[in-house]
Subunit: 212 residues, 2 copies
């Protein structure tokens, strides 16, 4: 008796290039044990929403600015995830920090991609271009990306995959960011997504076990 | 008018596998702008001394335990380096921490290889197997090695080269240590040595400029 693929929600805030990598990986058969059911954006005008629509993936906007406190915002997120029976959440450039209450409810069910080789250049304040600027300022010759489970500590959860990327003499934060995306993030995020989906799939560990 | 190759001293304390990599790189023409003139050990029975002798490289033992304070020990090191007109020092498993007085005297003239991708798993207390144990305990999937200039901050000097190495599920600190040596340290240490030797060589920047 087979169960359906693991239901995945991708959380976005911006351009959604990592979402695109996930969509492409699903099409090309890299992700087979999971299926992107839903794209959740906290920004109404995130281009990631267009990408989802272009691929007939359901979207929902839950704008954190519409909620006076984070608990209400997260309650709405949970309600939406529950309605769609989501089993795995992928943070793909989602610019809200989730509380311990939320991450505990989805323990080992939230993936994040961070644009450095954790534990270098990670934790509070290290996001986006700041990560690459810090790496260049430090003078590293190798950086990369990390996919990890999300817990209550920023970038503190168990590491699933990492991939190294070379730094070049002439790099700017922008150039390095692009290289890390192309050579690392867009590969290891879908791969990690498949690894974790397969585990959930094979354990027969379904939606009902998630504490909501 | 050509100058002779940059005179290199390699500081060792143990087995000297990194010294061997440097000797091999000199033989195979990877290091051409520098020449290993001297191997300095703080341990009288370091096997690295055998390796040097087998390759007709002069050795000297300066045992830190013979000196009541570090300044005297370092004064003896400096005297020896001066006598041999050493222009570049390579720390290859040298287990004594050098003072700021010494590192300032040889600013940008001391190289060290550290068995991780700095800034991960480096600084005080991170040496030898401890580095690899820390990496495995953290759960990283990628580690590596770094060659950097030595300044007064442990593992804090400018990075010259880094190379990434994969971590395997079944790794022990010992297995990981060996892989990092074979796949990273033994390659980037000779390469960095040649890069820095070439710079010194081409600047015509000779021994006399070092502040002793």
């Amino acid at each position: 008796m087979q169960r359906p693929p693991v239901k995945i929600a991708v959380f976005v805030s911006g351009g959604g290039t990592n979402l695109q990598a996930l969509i492409d990986a699903q099409k090309s058969g890299i992700i087979t044990h999971g299926k992107i059911e839903l794209v959740v954006s906290n920004k109404p005008n995130a281009y990631a929403l267009e990408r989802a629509k272009n691929n007939s993936i359901e979207t929902v906007v839950i704008n954190n600015k519409d909620y006076s406190d984070k608990r209400e915002f997260e309650a709405e997120l949970k309600k939406t995830l529950k309605a769609h029976e989501i089993e795995l959440i992928v943070l793909a450039g989602f610019m809200c920090i989730l509380t311990a209450d939320f991450t505990n409810a989805y323990k080992n069910r939230i993936l994040n991609v961070h644009p450095s080789l954790i534990p270098s250049f990670c934790g509070e304040g290290f996001y986006g271009l700041r990560v690459h600027k810090a790496a260049l300022d430090y003078g590293v010759k190798v950086t990369g990306a990390t996919v990890h489970f999300v817990n209550e500590i920023p970038d503190g959860g168990k590491i699933i995959l990492q991939k190294a990327v070379s730094v070049q003499e002439t790099d700017t934060p922008e150039i390095l960011q692009r290289r890390v995306m192309e050579q690392a993030e867009w590969h290891i995020l879908p791969e990690a997504c498949e690894i974790v989906s397969k585990e959930i799939y094979e354990k027969g560990d379904a939606y009902e076990h998630i504490q909501n």
